[in-house]
């Protein structure tokens, strides 16, 4: 699919937001799904780059992604100008399922935060009461705090303490759960492995639903190459690109 870049801006140092528009099945998007983007002219890079869908706006035919520059592909992407065309496939993968009128917790860490945005929006629309814990390494990496505040109660954590509470999101979550283990019915998370593992330990024995989004290096992005597997309670490995990226908390081995 060809989509055109309609807007781009640097949200924080090295972190870019990009809006694209064009023929895309916007209404089919589930929060947590991703697009697989061709980088370069189709010759220089044999592999596409998976980037999560941060927001979808079917009325305006707009898809928003947020990415951090970590290598050649994301560097190339950040250098594209408004008006340039991107070749994407998607929406891919298995997203977050949301329910109505529940008490939900969203936990995001760093570049794992954007995939939770569309989810937060939908949870709010569907009458959930949402707590949102966002963690960043440094104060100057913080983005989208205000945007998330529209949908719920945002708690900000930074490791350097420059903004919000100093420390990890999990300490805040743990404190709340000690107070009231039944505080949340659903927990949704995306971010670094370490954070996800810590959250999983906190909620493992609680009767909560929700899901956790994983990452792995991908080739095909559609389930054909078996490149992106992870271990779950199931006997065979699961492919993050089609069976995930969102998995049940009790299913995945982190």
């Amino acid at each position: 699919m060809k989509v055109k870049i309609s807007d781009k801006k640097e949200l924080a140092s090295g972190i870019w937001q990009m809006d694209v528009s064009g023929d895309f099945p916007y209404t089919e998007v589930q929060p947590g799904q991703f697009v697989h983007i061709q980088v370069g002219d189709g010759h220089d890079h044999v592999l596409r780059r998976p980037i999560s869908i941060a927001e979808v706006n079917p009325e305006q035919s707009r898809l928003t992604i947020v990415f951090r520059i970590v290598g050649e592909g994301t560097e190339w992407l950040a250098q594209q100008s408004v008006g340039n065309v991107l070749d994407v496939i998607g929406p891919l993968g298995n997203g977050f399922k949301s329910v109505k009128n529940a008490r939900s917790l969203i936990v995001g860490g760093g570049i794992g935060i954007p995939p939770l945005y569309e989810l937060a929006k939908r949870l709010k629309v569907e009458g959930n009461k949402v707590d949102i814990f966002l963690g960043f390494r440094r104060g100057d990496e913080v983005f989208w705090k205000e945007r998330f505040a529209k949908f719920g109660n945002v708690q900000l954590y930074t490791e350097d303490g420059a903004l919000g509470t100093k420390g990890f999101v999990t300490s805040g979550i743990e404190a709340r759960l000690i107070e009231n283990p039944k505080l949340w019915d659903y927990v949704y998370a995306c971010g670094p492995r370490g954070m996800l593992k810590a959250v999983q330990e906190l909620i493992m024995d609680l009767p909560v639903g929700g899901g956790v989004s994983l990452e792995e290096r991908m080739a095909c992005g559609v389930g054909a190459c078996y490149g992106c597997t992870c271990e779950t309670t199931a006997e065979e490995s699961k492919r993050i690109c089609v069976d995930g990226p969102v998995f049940d908390w009790r299913e995945v081995k982190l």
């Binding site: 044999v46 080739a219 095909c220 190459c225």
Partner: protein, 303 residues
């Protein structure tokens, strides 16, 4: 004038010479969401082993200049489920199904080949001999003509379908290996499988792939593949499936001129999920434009 795209390969009637390479197309289901698989010349499915295999730890894919490395490690659901779930589903498409078979012992290869042949759900076997031979210290079956000969003689006895042997390029003399395969009764050869390579993450100071090394595929290996096809085409009579870095119709022509009868497309499916049907359409255009009536006309013309 419309060219005739049909190709005969080791007894298989292909409606065109382009098929996806093993491991790069699963069992076809995923790409069937993109296009009608009946457009393909054939389909080569993921390596199948006697038992289900999870493969190697992740990360198991990464990109390098002009290609990629993979250390999937033969992850597959095992021959029982392949026969129960995957091959029946593929019968709806009007194309030959080639099952890529891997193993760690001669017995394992024979069991799997036998099961597949008995199932009546496949049209040919592609024997992946790049696998480590556990009975002989882990060296790949495909690097020693004697070991390969023994394997093929055993497989030949149970194999009632055309037997295509997929060779490893990580050898001193590919011609010697190819001849051994021909002598042991192979009906066709596939070349090449991946070269062995490695990438180191200099920040983490470790290989990127969890397994360390992986198979190099993509445009970077095309010159090596062309050369091996060229050398082997000069030395054997059985037909060759050319593989390695094919991205365009021109690449297919290059392999055919080097002696290949048909080709497999691997990594390009990841770059562009429509790679195979686009290459097939472009190939037809190329042939019409140059007045090439069929590929047989130019096969091996550069030899």
């Amino acid at each position: 004038m419309k060219p005739n795209m049909c190709v005969d390969f080791a007894g298989l009637k292909l409606k065109n010479p382009v098929m996806p390479a093993s491991g790069c197309f699963g069992f076809g289901r995923e790409y069937a969401n993109f296009y009608d698989l009946s457009k393909l010349g054939a389909i080569v499915v993921k390596a199948t082993t006697s038992q289900p295999r999870k493969g190697n730890p992740t990360p198991r894919v990464t990109e390098v200049r002009g290609g990629m490395l993979n250390s999937i490690g033969l992850a597959n659901p095992g021959v029982d489920r392949v026969i129960a779930d995957e091959l029946p589903w593929l019968q709806q498409f009007d194309i030959p199904v080639i099952v890529n078979v891997a193993g760690e012992t001669i017995e394992e290869y024979c069991t799997v080949v036998d099961r597949i042949c008995q199932s009546g759900l496949a049209h040919a076997i592609e024997l992946n001999v790049s696998c480590p031979n556990v009975q002989q210290g882990g060296l790949s079956f495909g690097v020693d003509p004697k070991v390969l000969g023994e394997l093929l003689e055993a497989v030949r006895r149970v194999c009632t379908l055309p037997l295509i042997v997929k060779l490893s390029p990580n050898v001193t003399d590919i011609v010697e290996i190819a001849k051994a395969a021909e002598d042991a009764g192979a009906d066709g050869l596939s070349l090449i499988n991946t070269l062995i390579g490695m990438k180191i993450d200099i920040n983490r100071r470790r290989p990127v792939l969890a397994r360390g090394s992986g198979g190099l595929s993509g445009p970077a290996i095309k010159p090596v593949a062309i050369h091996m096809v060229y050398q082997v085409a000069k030395a054997v009579k059985i037909p060759i499936l050319g593989i390695g870095g094919i991205n365009t119709a021109e690449d297919v022509i290059e392999f055919v001129m080097a002696g290949a009868a048909a080709v497999e497309v691997g990594t390009a499916n990841f770059t562009n999920p429509f790679a195979c049907p686009e290459i097939i359409a472009d190939l037809e255009k190329y042939m019409s434009k140059r007045g090439i009536k069929n590929l047989e006309e130019i096969r091996g013309c550069a030899l």
